[in-house]
């Protein structure tokens, strides 16, 4: 039971923190149309997070709610991978992070669709449609920036340099992932294949697979960034405890 709870929280935390980061763009995008696009992705991800949290809350009982899980757990209890908490920096880093993450979500949800757990299965099936679009949108941007101008090329290459080391963690199962029937080797193969094909089209080199990877997010050992995200996100719930909003 604990394993299922932790795994559900892992899925929820990933979606929430990624969605939260995307929502930081709202009002500041490079052009109105893309401001709207990235806010849509933020909304999709927060919607997914809510579904997972609601399910986790029923598993936990004890009056847990989606909000108590999102707003009253501290950094060490958050299980999202390091990738999603990385700062947005510029548009290149944002779309690349989205591409890495959405591609991961895409192949993960495909497998989850066949999970034994009816709830996870249903949430994944519904979310998969959204994620398909996120993969498409972010792939196109990676290609555009890679094969765009000299400036955009420089920036997307820099983004690869900075984010690549956070991708390895996606495929290193935490203890709560061991009984999920997720085939990690297959997941990683699919992910790699897609990354290679899009990078080829974008004329960007794929870093060596053997390069060093950071990990720890899945078990609560985060980068410093998450603390700031939570401080901001949880401020009202912490300052005015036991209130209805």
């Amino acid at each position: 039971m604990d394993q299922l709870i932790n795994y559900t929280l892992f899925l929820a935390d990933n979606a929430l923190i990624m969605g939260h980061r995307n929502s930081e763009w709202c009002g500041h995008g490079p052009i109105l149309e893309q401001d709207i696009a990235i806010s849509n992705i933020a909304l999709d991800l927060i919607g997914q997070a809510r579904n997972f949290y609601q399910y986790a809350a029923t598993l936990i009982g004890n009056n847990a709610t989606e909000d108590s899980l999102a707003y009253l757990r501290d950094v060490k209890e958050y299980k999202n991978c390091l990738l999603v908490e990385q700062p947005n920096a510029d548009w290149a880093q944002t779309v690349l992070k989205q591409f890495f993450f959405s591609t991961f979500q895409y192949y993960l949800y495909q497998q989850l669709q066949n999970n034994n757990d009816e709830q996870l299965k249903a949430i994944a099936a519904k979310a998969l449609k959204e994620v398909t679009y996120h993969v498409r949108w972010s792939s196109e941007w990676v290609i555009r920036l890679g094969d765009g101008t000299e400036e955009s090329k420089k920036r997307i290459v820099k983004a690869v340099d900075e984010l690549w080391m956070f991708t390895g963690e996606l495929f290193e199962p935490a203890s709560y992932e061991l009984n999920t029937n997720i085939d990690f080797i297959f997941l990683k193969e699919n992910w790699n294949k897609r990354i290679r094909s899009i990078f080829a089209e974008a004329t960007i080199d794929v870093p060596a697979e053997t390069s060093w990877h950071q990990s720890g997010g899945k078990i609560g050992n985060h980068s410093e960034h998450l603390g700031f995200i939570l401080a901001e996100m949880q401020f009202l719930q912490r300052a005015y405890p036991n209130s209805e909003w």
Binding site: I31, L32, E33, Q34, I36, A37, N40, R136, W137, E140, R144
Partner: protein
């Protein structure tokens, strides 16, 4: 003293910076040339209906225009199919020709079914 200015909702007057910015259509430094082209968006709201003009937007290419249209014009499930066309490819009739183009249709009532009187006994026609 408060100068009196034109003021409508959404209209707060404008500040004159210098005489050179006086001209409404003076070209901006960002330049029109750098702007993503304008596209017209047509949306089919339901299976079986026509595509209807929904509005316009900017996009770098057709793929992006369709995706932008999806994000901008179907946020509330308004559509199931999207057409986009670059605005510069739209050819419009000239309003000055309106009389010549459309008025003649005015007196062709025989094109409309109600023009014909049939006995009530005739059903389903």
């Amino acid at each position: 003293m408060i100068t009196i200015r034109k003021f409508y909702y959404g209209d707060y007057g404008e500040s004159k910076l210098d005489s050179s910015s006086d001209n409404e259509t003076s070209s901006s430094p960002s330049g029109v040339g750098g702007e993503w082209p304008l596209w017209e968006v047509f949306i089919r709201s339901k299976q079986g209906l026509d595509h209807k003009h929904a509005g316009s937007l900017h996009a770098a290419d057709a793929t992006m225009a369709i995706e932008n249209a999806r994000d901008v014009y179907t946020r509330r499930m308004e559509g199931i199919s999207i057409w986009v066309v670059e605005s510069k490819h739209i050819h419009a009739s000239n309003p000055d020709d309106a009389d010549a183009l459309y008025d003649p249709a005015n007196d062709k009532a025989y094109r409309h079914p109600t023009f014909y009187n049939l006995p009530d006994a005739v059903k389903h026609m």
